[in-house]
């Protein structure tokens, strides 16, 4: 009985891993900046942050 070859799926090259890592860092930094922006604007505006007139 022969063993089925193990499917390793898509194996990333080093270049692809580096590109993925740089994209992941950029997304993390962008989301962190967005959280900080919302936090600081909430502090600046106070309760009227919930008032959004046209």
């Amino acid at each position: 009985m022969t063993e089925e070859p193990k499917d390793e799926g898509i194996v990333l090259t080093e270049a692809q891993k580096r590109a993925r890592r740089s994209r992941s860092i950029a997304i993390a930094l962008s989301l962190a900046a967005l959280v900080i922006l919302f936090y600081v604007v909430t502090l600046v505006k106070g309760p009227i942050v919930l008032v959004r007139p046209l």
């Binding site: 898509i10 990333l12 270049a15 692809q16 590109a19 993925r20 740089s22 994209r23 950029a26 967005l34 922006l37 919302f38 600081v40 604007v41 600046v44 505006k45 942050v49 959004r52 007139p53 046209l54």
Partner: protein, 321 residues
């Protein structure tokens, strides 16, 4: 078979040949995604939005002003990414755009689409939550107009593509004004009109020097469809509307004497260059290139002087408030 339909056939074969739908893991770096956002266009959008925001009456916290400009910039980047997603096939054919990330195969079309939609969503929602709903609605409409009306519909369908599509580029000062005031008035509409009528002479002057490129890509730009002479007449006609519009802020009392002087001098130069373009015949392209280059300076000067005269004091007061 017309030049346009030949271009459309060629476009399809290039898109298939470029391997745009391959399923390998992406090699796209951060720089490729920045390029998708068309940073040079984005800088012009931010500048005109800043002028709209600065000349608006009232006070605004500097952080809210920064947030508004950031959202407008990201919204413009989203529109650029969605444009590159849809136009990958014609970008691959044109010399000017062939090195963009999607036709080069560095970013897959699906990635560009997801990136653009994500940015658009974040920009509009953030502007609505942190600034005001009117500005967010205008930003959403601008992105929709640029992508759906201009890129998907008009660009490949009519030689009036950049006339109507130019509205998308004219919205940023209106969004800036709306972000500052939460309302609209005649002044931002005038800024809109200036950019709207500036766009056709600017792009047709470029198109005159790239006629074969546009024809090969299957884009019915005016020089491809209506011919060289007709385009030159249209450039002059639109410049004749643009120059009085450029003077209107001074005439209506929205701007001071310096603006009036700059608008008159640069408007006269625009008219002289448009007249030279009318008298020029192919293969000569000097006048078209001069008009294209000067038109950028013309718009920049009008808005910069407006910012200095009207906006700078108001902006400083607003930041100090």
């Amino acid at each position: 078979m017309s030049l346009v339909s030949e271009g459309a056939d060629f476009r399809g074969s290039v898109a298939a040949g470029a391997g745009l739908d391959r399923a390998e893991p992406s090699l796209a770096g951060v720089g490729d995604y920045v390029a998708l956002m068309k940073p040079r266009v984005m800088s012009l959008v931010v500048f005109t939005a800043l002028v709209g925001l600065a000349v608006a009456p009232g006070t605004m916290h500097p952080l809210i002003a920064f947030t508004a400009l950031l959202c407008i910039a990201v919204g413009a980047g989203a529109a650029g990414a969605l444009n590159m997603w849809y136009d990958a096939d014609i970008d691959a054919v044109m010399t000017r755009t062939a090195r963009r990330p999607v036709p080069m195969g560095r970013v897959r079309p699906g990635e560009a689409l997801a990136f653009g939609l994500t940015l658009a969503g974040f920009a509009v929602v953030t502007l609505g939550l942190l600034v005001n709903v009117l500005a967010a609605g205008l930003l959403a409409f601008t992105i929709f107009f640029y992508v759906a009306i201009y890129t998907i519909w008009l660009k490949r369908w009519t030689p009036q593509n950049i006339v109507i599509g130019g509205a998308a580029g004219a919205f940023p000062p209106v969004i800036g004004w709306a972000a500052a005031t939460g309302s609209l008035s005649a002044e931002p509409v005038l800024l809109f009109m200036i950019i709207f009528f500036w766009t056709p002479p600017h792009f047709w002057a470029l198109a005159l020097t790239r006629t074969e490129d546009y024809a090969r890509a299957g884009i019915p730009m005016l020089p491809v469809v209506a011919g060289d002479a007709s385009t030159r007449r249209q450039i002059l006609a639109h410049t004749l509307i643009l120059v009085p519009l450029g003077l209107a802020p001074y005439a209506l009392g929205y701007a001071g004497a310096l603006y009036g002087l700059i608008a008159a001098v640069t408007g006269a130069i625009m008219l002289a260059l448009a007249w030279q373009v009318l008298r020029e015949r192919r293969p000569a392209e000097h006048a078209s290139k001069h008009l294209f280059a000067f038109s950028i300076l013309y718009l920049f000067l009008l808005f910069a002087v407006l910012l200095i005269e009207r906006g700078w004091g108001g902006l400083i007061a607003r930041l100090a408030a």
